[in-house]
């Protein structure tokens, strides 16, 4: 990440040795690179992104801090520059559901584009995070000038709808083991890190987290992972999973007949 680290308060700009104008320009260029990498803005020219970058607020969060809390008024879209974040939803009954992880180059809080909306989820920083806050009102107004932007938002939301529908279907039709396998493959493709032992899921991932993702209990997840570890499919530790035989896990996720573990 070639993005300049800067700690929250914008006043700090004036404390640097460079002259203010130069800093602002540099910052905007950096913002532009980050924004451009987000699929929401990929159709836009850099020039069109300038007003977005200008309205963006840079902010950092420490592990454990909440970026947004469920039911609070939704003012900002969040673009993640670095770090890992998890989105969770709390039900009235007090059960928590882990919707997804968000990591660099991704975005969340698109609900802020709508007026008077509230966040339907909470976002918790799992590591130190650098994010850009984009005021929903700015995006909203910009959309009328830049139709591509509106299309980007629509594409983003449509993708989310489809992935949620698929998840719903899976949750209703598949057994727990299959769902956990699916969650792992999803995580692998999103935050997986190729190592010698296999694919390391590169976020702190407790049994409880996996349970909240798949609608089960930490006990059941623990038993499943233990089983897989005995079959040498994975290597599991405290808040850590390494997939040693990806094809084996995929086989379970897709419910293929023979794992063919020769």
């Amino acid at each position: 990440m070639h993005w300049i680290i800067r700690l929250g308060k914008s006043e700090q700009r004036s404390y640097t040795s460079l002259n203010p104008k130069e800093i602002i320009v540099k910052q905007q260029l950096d913002y532009l690179d980050l924004l451009k990498s987000v699929s929401l803005f990929s159709d836009l020219k850099k020039a069109e992104l300038l007003p977005v970058a200008q309205a963006a607020i840079e902010k950092c969060f420490h592990a454990g801090e909440f970026l947004i809390r469920q039911d609070e008024p939704a003012e900002y879209l969040f673009v993640v520059g670095s770090g890992n974040i998890k989105l969770t939803q709390l039900s009235s009954g007090g059960d928590q559901f882990l919707l997804c992880y968000v990591t660099s180059g991704e975005m969340f809080g698109s609900i802020a584009i709508l007026q008077n909306a509230a966040y339907p989820v909470s976002a918790e920083a799992l590591t130190y995070c650098q994010v850009l806050l984009l005021p929903g009102s700015v995006i909203r107004h910009l959309m009328s000038e830049i139709p591509q932007l509106a299309m980007g938002v629509i594409r983003h939301l449509a993708g989310r709808v489809q992935s949620l529908q698929r998840q719903l279907q899976e949750l209703s039709a598949e057994r727990v083991e299959q769902r956990v396998a699916r969650a792992l493959t999803r995580l692998a493709s999103q935050v997986g890190l190729r190592t010698e032992q296999g694919i390391l899921i590169n976020v702190a991932l407790s049994r409880q987290d996996l349970a909240e993702m798949t609608g089960t209990t930490l006990y059941t997840v623990s038993r499943i992972l233990s089983g897989w570890e005995k079959r040498a499919l994975i290597d599991a530790g405290r808040e850590r999973v390494v997939i040693k035989k990806p094809h084996g896990i995929v086989a379970i996720a897709e419910d293929l007949p023979a794992p063919r573990s020769k």
Copy 2:
């Protein structure tokens, strides 16, 4: 519904006794009324809706016919003028999930706004249906001229995302009885018909349908409905449910302690 019934083929227009121009104008006015009633277009002025109405294709379907099939290229948005439709999703494993019912004044197939997308669901007519087909390309191009339209689409999708997230949470955390109760209350508010005996769910609703909505089996649904019938909460018949004590069902859906059935 004050919408003129006309059978599919546009050639029929010339067979009427009125002069063609008058008919076309009349038709567009009717289309405009229908479109205006759809939340997607509610922010638009009637004049702005004219191009949409002009591009709309009227079509009718008989009970049992499929309006769209999963994985087919998505060309049209559908606006329902009359009739009931169910949206289902088929998994690779062959399990069907019933996503939702769609009825007059509602809309589906918004994925068609995106280029080269495929429908993620199938839509089956449960009754005789009159629908308007709006070419996705037309909406797509109109969005750049009418920002309100883009906002409407975004609002629609955002609502869908939230409702799906809620459903996901419910499916993962709640027991079957609760989920069935929830499905019934949802249906009651959408297609419920107030009668003397209670709220009649005004669509053909088999045990199998309820099972596919809630991620369970028709056996379990049957047992649950039988139980509720014994407690005089509902009145169930072949593909028919009447909610006699709405508060009782809501109490189950919300998992309230005392049903208070005095």
